[in-house]
């Protein structure tokens, strides 16, 4: 072994040792970062079942799903008509009412009560609340107005109110999530 090779071998060991320390550092960071993500009890938060038998046409209720409000709305024939009358291609987030409801249950509009702008809860689900100029929901924070299919029509929000995953467990019970 020549002198130069000896030096190289020694450098290699030092570099390897420092690299191992680096790997250890990264290894420590992984649990430190991942402990902040949602814990098992939060992820397991169960689905919500809602009894809709008492909601008359034209009424809506607020339910809770994943610590956020869900709007369940029984649309009147007039509201359905208004929603279907809109030219879909003119919308910011083009979707028909059919696409946003379940087949045969077009009158049941179920959406998250979370404005797609910055997350406030829009008005319009409660009795006597302002429904905005399109007759659906109105977000008082920054003036986003949604129509009777909860599609964004005016204001800063980029998307329609989100439709969560749900199914009809029976004619009167909706299971969300």
């Amino acid at each position: 072994m020549t002198e130069a090779e000896g030096v190289r071998r020694r450098d290699f060991i030092n570099i390897a040792a420092v690299s191992a320390a680096g790997v250890a550092g990264v290894g420590i960071v992984v649990p430190l970062v991942s402990q902040m993500s949602a814990s098992a009890d939060v992820l397991a938060a169960s689905s919500t079942e809602i009894d809709i038998s008492a909601i008359k046409p034209g009424q809506a209720i607020k339910a809770e799903f994943r610590k956020q409000p869900v709007f369940v709305r029984n649309l009147t024939p007039k509201e359905i008509e208004e929603a279907n009358a809109v030219d879909v291609s003119s919308l910011r987030d083009p979707q028909t009412l059919e696409e946003r409801t379940k087949e045969g249950k077009t009158n049941w509009l179920i959406t998250m009560g979370v404005c797609t702008h910055l997350g406030c809860v829009p008005l319009g689900a409660g009795e006597g609340e302002a429904k905005g100029e399109f007759g659906g929901y109105f977000c008082p924070c920054h003036g986003s107005a949604y129509d009777t299919a909860a599609r964004i029509r005016k204001g800063p929000a980029p998307k329609n109110l989100e439709v969560p995953e749900y199914e009809f467990a029976s004619d009167t019970v909706v299971k969300i999530g």
Partner: protein, 278 residues
């Protein structure tokens, strides 16, 4: 000056201690403390081995499921398991559907959506095991004035907890004649049960597992009292330390890496100090 002061302070403490020592020693000789029944008859937990012993040990899901069955069919009548949720049972090998079915079999506290009054409803996977008694007073009233403790952490809340639970369940016996001879006042009171593995020897809990075949195991294992006691103590070890398998697995990976890194570090240290006598 400082030294004299220091020696004086030192004498103050040492003389005080010598005084305490002397008086204590004198009392010890003149009035030796009386022996107690607990001191002489209490036994340490039995030796018992489990699949999860030692640094390589892992839980045996089959056994944990059997233990769960014992908890469900025997213990849960009096003991809560409040830190465990039904969803946690997935970790011992139950499927989503099975967990759902198990949860449904328990009634948990709920609220009537129409009236807002307290009622009960079938459990959901996210619910925790319900408590058998509404509160300590109810528990006391139903159990001869003793509160059955929560079992979630029992095996960590006692020395050698797994063996302790096993020993306690299988350790009931007649009060030994020598004990009564030596301590006539220490007769097990009515309603209590003599058990040398319990700290004060007399336990309010009646023997919970008494007969072979008290439960019928789904996996066909013969349900002897010894088997049942082992299984339920294993299950309670899991409820207290659910992350044991992952902990040991991670541990070996970490130790392996550290050993490698430390050897490198040592070589690097030898390198750097080569030729530098110290």
């Amino acid at each position: 000056m400082a030294r004299i002061l220091s020696i004086l302070v030192g004498l103050f403490f040492t003389v005080a201690l010598a005084w305490s020592f002397g008086k204590g020693a004198y009392t010890q000789i003149t009035e030796p403390p009386a022996a107690t029944a607990e001191h002489e008859f209490h036994l340490h937990p039995k030796e018992v081995s489990h699949s999860f012993d030692g640094p390589f040990g892992r839980y045996d899901n089959q056994q944990l499921q059997r233990g769960f069955q014992i908890y469900k069919e025997v213990c849960s009548a009096c003991h809560s398991l409040s830190h465990v949720a039904f969803r946690d049972l997935k970790a011992i090998g139950y499927s989503d559907a099975e967990v759902k079915a198990i949860a449904k079999g328990f009634q948990v506290p709920g609220i009537d959506p129409a009236t807002g009054e307290a009622n009960t409803r079938p459990g959901l996977p996210t619910d925790y095991f319900p408590k058998p008694f509404a509160n300590d007073i109810a528990a006391r009233a139903a159990n001869n004035n003793a509160v059955p403790p929560d079992l979630s952490l029992m095996t960590k809340a006692r020395h050698e907890g797994t063996a302790y639970v096993y020993s306690l369940i299988t350790g009931y016996q007649e009060q030994p004649a020598e004990l009564l001879k030596e301590f006539p006042d220490a007769k097990t009171p009515n309603g209590l049960h003599y058990n040398p593995y319990f700290a004060n020897l007399n336990l309010a809990m009646a023997p919970p597992l008494t007969a072979e075949g008290q439960v019928t195991y789904a996996d066909g294992t013969k349900a002897t009292v010894d088997q049942m006691a082992q299984d339920v103590s294993a299950f309670l070890t899991w409820t207290a330390e659910p992350k044991l398998d992952k902990r040991k697995q991670t541990g070996w990976a970490v130790l392996g890496f550290l050993l490698f890194a430390t050897i490198l570090g040592y070589m690097s240290y030898r390198n750097i100090w080569a030729g530098k006598k110290h």
